[in-house]
Amino acid sequence: MTSRSKRKEIITRSLLLALFTIPLPLFYGIYLTRYKGTPVPDTAWISWYDDPRHEVYVAWETNANTTGTVHFGTDPLNLVNSSVESMAVKFHVVNLTGLAPDTKYYYRIDQDGTTYTTGEFRTAPASQPEFTFGLFADTQQKVGPGWHGHTAKEIANRNYSFVAMVGDFVEDGEKFEWNDFFTKASTYLDTIPIVPVRGNHDKPRDLDDDGIDEYYFGNYFPQTVDSISGLNPHDTGEQFYFSFNWSSVHVQVLHFPEIDIDDFGEPGGLNPGDYNRSFTADQLAWLEADLTNAAAMPFRITLFHCPITGAGFYGPNYVLKEELLPILQSYNVTAVVSGHAHHYERGTLVNQTFPENPLTYFVVGCGGGLTDIGLRPVPETDVALASPCFTEVTANATYLEFTTYGFEGTVLDKFSVGA
């Protein structure tokens, strides 16, 4: 072989090598760089503490400390009410009070003389008309399949009174992950309020090793930290629980921080003794008192992240089964909804003590993260599947219907409960 043809062969092989080895690493590099560089989106969201008939809050984030003004009213062309922030902040929360039930409101956020964003919402009704809301969980993107964007688009096309996100918005708690969540959720947040449930991945973390935990979940959803402002008398700082009525449904949001089962057995994490402290007396006392107050409501739905049982990787949670389940059943809770396991599941929890009150449970962990595969149905499992999906709940005074949709409107499961 001449030196010229040898050189030609070397060049050809080098080009071939580049052709086959560069595209994938290059794509991964670009994808991760873009993902990690996701900016703070220009979006705001509506949520509430315990009375969405008369009071909600609007929240948003800015890159720098700013002071915002929220103009709101029932006429989009004449927003007669306004609320001004008292100090410049990055994580903005403005309470909108004195609202009328079952009324559509429009709002506009102004910052530095310019409009930041606009949106609308409807307050909870005082009576019990039919309404729908959405349920999903576990949107963790990371190396996931990117399904949260699709879920968000599906939800945006529906006329929901609110969506409940049942925990694990993010995987590692990094800021760009939150930016990614809100970027995708922005497709519906301007018209659909969000009810947050804290997942184990949403916990405070010391991301920059300065000895201080960043707690973005608390920054975005001040239900967690409003013991400081005194707006939520039930909040005890670290724990996170509240409830509200919407039409015929009483919705409870719980969180038991000590039973994040992912931490079990890890250095510095949980040990079996911690399970004894899983349920603090104040949260359990609040839970029972709240269920007592809601006894007259046709339906009671309790949301918390880690499921009582399920076909996923984590199996049954015996502490929840033994300590929480009897309470929920004794107060005739209609359904519990969790995430954590990345699949959809519906099942029936029968309790020896209260056999007349079986409890329907849902796992709605297919909101965007990698779905589980190799499900291991437990005796309580009625339906289990691992498709990307979200659950729609339609409620009126006499029935509650859960419909789980895959993408493009495919109905994956349907279940009804009478009052």
Binding site: F20, T21, L24, G146, P316, L370, G374, L375, S387, P388
Partner: protein, 221 residues
Amino acid sequence: MIGTLTLNPMVGIHILALAQTVFTAIYLVVPANAKPVKKKRQRTLDFFRYFGLGTLSVFGILFMDIGLSWLAGNWTMTDWRFQLPNVILLVFLGMQYILIVLLHGGTILDVAFISVVSGIMIVFLHVIIPSEVVMGELLEDGLVFLLAIPAGIYAVISLVKVLLIDPRRLDQGESRGSWLSWDASEKLKKIYTRWLTVIFWVLTTFQSMLAFYGYSLLTLV
């Protein structure tokens, strides 16, 4: 329906895409008819060739397990449009990665290695893990060892092949690439052609990229 545990094909496709990239580059770019080099250097090259292919075969076993487990029953619980392309690629290429070890210098050691690793992986994924109350953590921790330990063992096998088996074969007038007791290499080479390697490289690469955005080759159709 067999509700058996396995890795998610959505994860498997990313590992497979990287494996196929490496495989394609070596298969197409490294000269197959390179001139013989010095004996010591030849041994080093042979060692890395054996070791690389052996490691690939360990992943091949995992890929096959992921794909076949899904086909065995998990498809009933998923939106198949997202998983089926992953599964087809995992099964087809996983099989190729196993066969390629046997094609290039396969010995009784390779047959034993692949049999034992397959057995251990099947028992671990489908017997030990499902018997745990909390499956997730043991799966994540155990799988790392399950991939790393066989790779280490195959490094030893590669040494044995380079230092003991190959010299004996050459003394007996056989080539390094000969089969132990049967020869299906020509037939298989007709199946696993260079063009097919490139086609599968394109498919795995695109499928991996699409997965990050919540699409698959089938959802685009």
